[in-house]
């Protein structure tokens, strides 16, 4: 700790930080632009000038940039000094010279850091009467709007996009007063984190284009704390609603998980909520009728009650809330409740749960991944399955730079200096994968192997680390050199981190990863100074994959058992909840099950291939329209709150399932379901702590979802009737659908939209952190449900065979693989149709041309797909991107044969347009 004096008041500060950060940590108001808590200082904007004095006697002082000055012990500074204040007001005046006076039509208005800082710096009147510099804007694709005239050249955008997120297609162009932030030519901003530009930009240069299309001021949005349901990371989000439709999603700070940044799937996928595919009304088909008929909400409840009177089976879902899965199981009984994911995933998740309870290992949160000094990524294309983890892995590479900077005694917040020093020095990132990935640019090595060979390699690595781990048979010299080099890097690291996933649906892969972690644990126990646990995590495909697996431990059977029962017709009805079963099993198996003739009740948000077969199709709430609990890849339970109430036809699945009386308005609240369940099951007892009490946090008042200046409350429904309608009541949570109540900032799990006097932008979050970039004050971070056991388990035996025959692997895409977000128009504009991907050798052997069609046949399935030939792919592998259309389970079984479909230039041309969109650099030239 160091002591500094600011305007005569002493503060205890961290001397490793700079003055700006420490002043903000102390809650002082000091304007800034270019500095960002995650990106450090470059001293570009000169806005945070303060007066620094050499000692007590020095009355004159010098002006310094707070962000570029260490908060060293004994520093004496003044923020309020007249010269410093004048300096800042002149800096803002010159930054604002070419800034247009367009706040009323600017999307940033009302939550603009530039507005806040201009006010704070006292630049209230403009004096510059001359011609402003103007720019041409670019079309940057479906996500990001561009209005360069508003730019104040703080360089935050390129520092985030290029330096932090690894983007390559945004640059600072030009110089002096003509600096232009854009692409070299118009086109889609490719990086998976481009949406953060809207939050990183202190003004309205980069804006959320989807939000602009149905724009509402920040203060007119109704917001509630939510959890992104796009994958299993569990990023915290703040969705906003107005007039009954969802308008946008922004990041909500969570210290351990997403921090300041979320991926573009999470940000732009929300529009699926208003998509044409939405099931808006209950639909019923009588017997064998072909056409659905709409039902009123009451008729739907009656029909549901009538159909579920007898022996009913229920199939849950890893993309539904924990409450809905519990309610379904309670409704149908444990013996009739089945997993909502494939059997292979079921098996994988059993292994993952074991690893989460294994002592001596830990499941790193996102911030812990960032701190790792050696990362091994196995098989999972992490950028496309759990993008936020990939962003963390990218930061982990910078730990080598941290070491260099410490040696050279350069403070870590000196961003430009540290990067200049490090150049291309990075901590090891080893990727073992069937194909090249978006992290290859920061990887120290990428080993392209098909799945069986990956498992074989992992076994060899485990053996090289700890000879007690079983040595795989049939290894050769190449393997040994490779495995011992990987082993050596993992052993040398202080915080090695293993990242894999269950996309390959291979329990053997999960076991092999766990074995490597166990070997490292053994090694560190005996040979290393580092005794801290070994980091091992598995990316989860869906928001509640792990939640469903945990629930199944307390009762439930795998999906195949449900399909058998359906095929044999031994049930009166089947409820399939928020689940497209055609994505969970092969079409043949599904068709057999459906042939059993059991009446099918499906509850879902969106129409899909599967629920068209239902007899009764009931509309379900999305994550934004219900309260719910989600369990992420770490086993962390988090609450999402209802942002707004949907139409009366749409109900949360748990509301429908827990309502026994059709006349009842709705069923039991999510809170009651959760409390009862947590009390009955020890493993879930932490869940009773998860949510703050419904009333009484602040006297008897609730916390408002609407801001204190929310407008139009009495006029919003005037087109329907002139009476002031009663506000919706929320009986299930501590939040109110109102602007009244106490702006509750005490519990961060209830704080969706931070605001503090003079801080209207998202930068106001620093007012609620214990220190900058630190934990939220009195913040709820969720509850970890998997408890480490005390006894270590032995290595898992795996039959590690090496395979040279042609195998198929499934490709994931950030934009398209998630079924819900894939229906958002902006995401659709970035997504691809199904395709196959092969290497050059295979292409030559089968006579397949670049972008031609390939015919893929297995024992159980056949499909024709456009093909991309790339360099970075394991030999004897074919990658298939199913785009939720191709029956992937049919292609994974038995021998695969490939055949070129005779070339027709027309289909080459049409698939070429699609492949222009694929973000890989190693595709072979068209002529090849």
């Amino acid at each position: 700790m160091a002591k500094i004096s600011v305007d005569g008041i002493e503060y205890d500060v961290n001397p490793e930080n700079n003055l700006l950060q420490e002043c903000l940590s102390q809650g002082l108001d000091l304007p800034y632009f270019c500095w960002h808590p995650c990106m450090g200082s470059v001293g570009a904007c000169r806005q945070c000038a303060v007066k620094q004095y050499r000692n007590e006697e020095d009355k004159k002082g010098t002006i310094v940039m707070a962000c570029m000055t260490p908060a060293s012990d004994g520093s004496i500074i003044s923020i309020n000094d007249q010269q410093a204040t004048d300096f800042r007001s002149h800096v803002i005046e010159s930054l604002m010279i070419s800034h247009p006076h367009d706040c009323p039509v600017c999307e940033e208005g009302g939550e603009c850091h530039l507005q806040d800082m201009t006010q704070m710096s006292g630049h209230n009147y403009r004096r510059y009467d001359f011609k402003k510099v103007t720019h041409r804007n670019q079309n940057l694709g479906p996500f990001i709007g561009h209005e360069m005239n508003r730019c104040i050249a703080c360089y935050r955008c390129v520092r985030f996009y290029n330096d932090y997120a690894g983007g390559e297609d945004l640059a600072a162009l030009g110089s002096h007063h003509h600096v232009y932030f854009g692409r070299h030519e118009e086109g889609v901003l490719e990086n998976e984190f481009s949406g953060n530009l809207a939050e990183v930009c202190p003004t309205g240069v980069f804006t959320d284009k989807t939000f602009s299309a149905h724009y509402t001021r920040k203060w007119d949005l109704q917001t509630a704390p939510s959890i992104c349901a796009g994958c299993g990371v569990g990023c915290n989000t703040a969705p906003g609603e107005r007039y009954g439709t969802l308008r946008r999603v922004v990041n909500r700070y969570h210290h351990d998980i997403n921090g300041y940044f979320i991926c573009d799937r999470g940000r732009f996928g929300y529009d699926a909520n208003s998509s044409k595919q939405r099931v808006g009304k209950a639909l019923y088909r009588h017997g064998q009728e072909a056409e659905f008929k709409p039902l009123s909400s009451l008729e739907a409840k009656r029909q549901f009650a009538a159909m579920t009177g007898g022996d009913v089976i229920g199939i849950g879902s890893p993309r539904a809330t924990l409450e809905s899965n519990i309610a379904l199981r309670d409704r149908v009984g444990v013996e009739n409740f089945y997993a909502g994911f494939s059997d292979a995933q079921f098996d994988c998740l059993q292994e993952v749960l074991k690893s989460l309870r294994e002592p001596g290992l830990y499941c790193p949160d996102v911030r812990q991944i960032e701190r790792s000094d050696c990362v091994l990524v196995v098989n999972e294309d992490i950028t496309n399955t759990s993008a936020r983890l990939a962003l963390a892995i990218r930061q982990a590479g910078r730990n080598a730079a941290t070491d260099l900077a410490n040696e050279a005694r350069i403070p870590l917040w000196q961003d430009a200096a540290v990067r200049e020093l490090a150049q291309n020095t990075r901590s090891p990132l080893i990727i073992v994968s069937p194909q090249g990935s978006r992290l290859d640019d920061v990887a120290s090595a990428t080993h392209l192997l098909q799945l069986d060979n990956q498992i074989h390699l992992l076994q060899a690595v485990a053996h090289a680390i700890d000879p007690d781990a079983l040595k795989p048979t049939a290894s050769n010299e190449v393997d040994e050199a490779l495995s011992s080099s990987i082993a050596a890097q993992l052993c040398q690291a202080k915080n090695p981190c293993l990242v894999s996933g269950i996309s390959a649906e291979s329990p053997a892969l999960v076991k092999a990863c766990v074995n490597v972690a166990k070997a490292l644990r053994a090694y560190r126990k005996h040979n290393s100074a580092e005794q801290n646990p070994v980091a091992l995590c598995f990316a989860m495909p869906e928001a509640n994959s792990l939640g469903m697996a945990l629930l199944l431990e307390t009762g439930g059977k795998p999906l195949r058992a449900a399909l058998q029962r359906l095929a044999s017709g031994s049930a009166d009805a089947a409820i399939v909840m928020e689940n497209d079963l055609s994505l969970r099993t092969s079409q043949t198996a599904l068709a057999e099950a459906m042939a059993g003739g059991v009446p099918l009740i499906v509850m879902d948000q969106l129409h899909n291939r599967f629920n068209e077969q239902a007899q009764l199709l009931l509309p379900s709430s999305s994550v934004f329209e219900q309260h719910g609990t989600w369990i992420n890849y770490e086993g962390r339970a988090q609450s999402s709150y209802q942002v707004f109430r949907p139409s009366e036809d749409i109900l949360a699945s748990y509301e429908r399932l827990s309502a026994l009386d059709p006349m009842q308005e709705c069923g039991v609240s999510s809170e009651l379901i959760m409390q009862e369940f947590a009390r009955a099951n020890d493993a879930f007892s932490a869940l009773t702590q998860l949510r703050p009490p419904r009333v009484g946090i602040s006297a008897s008042l609730k916390s408002p979802r609407q801001s204190h200046r929310f407008s139009g409350r009495t006029a919003m429904h005037a087109q329907d009737h002139v009476h002031e309608s009663q506000q919706e009541q929320d009986r299930a949570s501590a939040l109110a659908f109102s602007m009244e109540g106490v702006m509750l900032q005490k519990d961060s799990s209830l704080m969706a939209s931070p605001w503090s006097p003079a801080w209207n932008s998202n930068q106001s979050i620093s007012k609620f952190q214990q220190e900058i970039n630190g934990e939220l004050q009195q913040g709820s971070k969720g509850e970890l449900l998997c408890v480490r056991q005390s006894t270590e388990t032995a290595y898992d035996a795996i039959s590690a065979k090496r395979d040279e025959k042609l195998t198929c692997f499934i490709i994931s895409q950030l934009f398209g693989s998630d079924e819900i977000s894939a229906n958002a128009p902006a995401i659709q504009a970035r997504s691809l149709g199904p395709y196959a991907c092969i290497g050059q050798e295979l292409a030559l052997a089968c006579g397949i041309r670049q972008h031609g069609l390939v015919d893929i046949t297995t024992q159980t399935g056949r499909v024709q797909l456009p093909v991309i030939i790339r360099r970075q792919i394991a030999p004897n592998c074919i990658g298939i991107y199913p785009a939720n259309e191709v029956d992937k389970y049919a292609l994974l079984l038995g021998e695969i044969t490939l055949q070129a479909v005779p070339d027709e230039d027309s289909h080459i041309a049409s698939s070429r347009a699609m492949f222009d969109h694929l973000l890989i650099k190693d595709a072979l030239a068209r002529e090849a």
């Binding site: 694709g141 640059a171 600072a172 030519e185 149709g833 699609m914």
Partner: protein, 174 residues
């Protein structure tokens, strides 16, 4: 409608041209002098400009591909420097100093004369593609002001007569 039909194409509007043998040779020489490829960006742009007169989008992409770097980043370098030309210039580029010493020595009248003779202002090129006039801050020859740099040759002690001579000489050589 399948997703593929909704795609906004990201296909680049221009394709890289092929670098000439001489350009490749010159850039490869520079590569031996720097620790990594990206560092050669500026030199490579200068080489291309020397041979082509300016750096077109096609040339920029070619250099970026050759140096295995992002075209966006390279364009950041190219547009930062005033004297890397990202649009066509005349066969002769007049880098005319309008800084303080030259100003004292009357460069304004001389510039007015050039503009009148050629019909171009700063930043413009004559219709016949012969001359481009560009202001520069200082050419380091203040004791012989006013000066300009043309065709790699410093023209000192400029006067209206000297400008006429230079233009006449250029016309002769054509």
């Amino acid at each position: 409608m399948t997703n593929s039909q909704l795609i906004a194409s990201t296909a680049p509007r221009v394709q890289a041209r092929t670098l000439t043998e001489q350009e490749v040779h010159d850039i490869e020489h520079e590569l031996t002098l720097y620790p990594d490829k990206r560092a050669v960006g500026l030199e490579a742009l200068k080489i291309v400009q020397k041979h082509q007169g300016w750096v077109s989008d096609e040339s920029l992409l070619a250099v970026a591909n050759f140096l295995e770097m992002s075209a966006h980043e390279l364009d950041g370098v190219a547009t930062f420097f005033n004297l890397i030309f990202r649009q066509p210039v005349g066969r002769k580029v007049m880098l005319f100093c309008n800084s303080v010493s030259c100003y004292i020595m009357g460069c304004e009248q001389i510039k007015a004369h050039i503009s009148e003779r050629l019909g171009i202002d700063y930043g413009e090129t004559t219709a016949d593609g012969q001359f481009t006039l560009i202001p520069v801050p200082c050419l380091g020859d203040c004791d012989r002001a006013p000066v300009m740099l043309m065709d790699g040759e410093q023209q000192r002690n400029l006067s209206i007569e000297k400008i006429n001579e230079i233009l006449a000489e250029s016309a002769e050589r054509e």
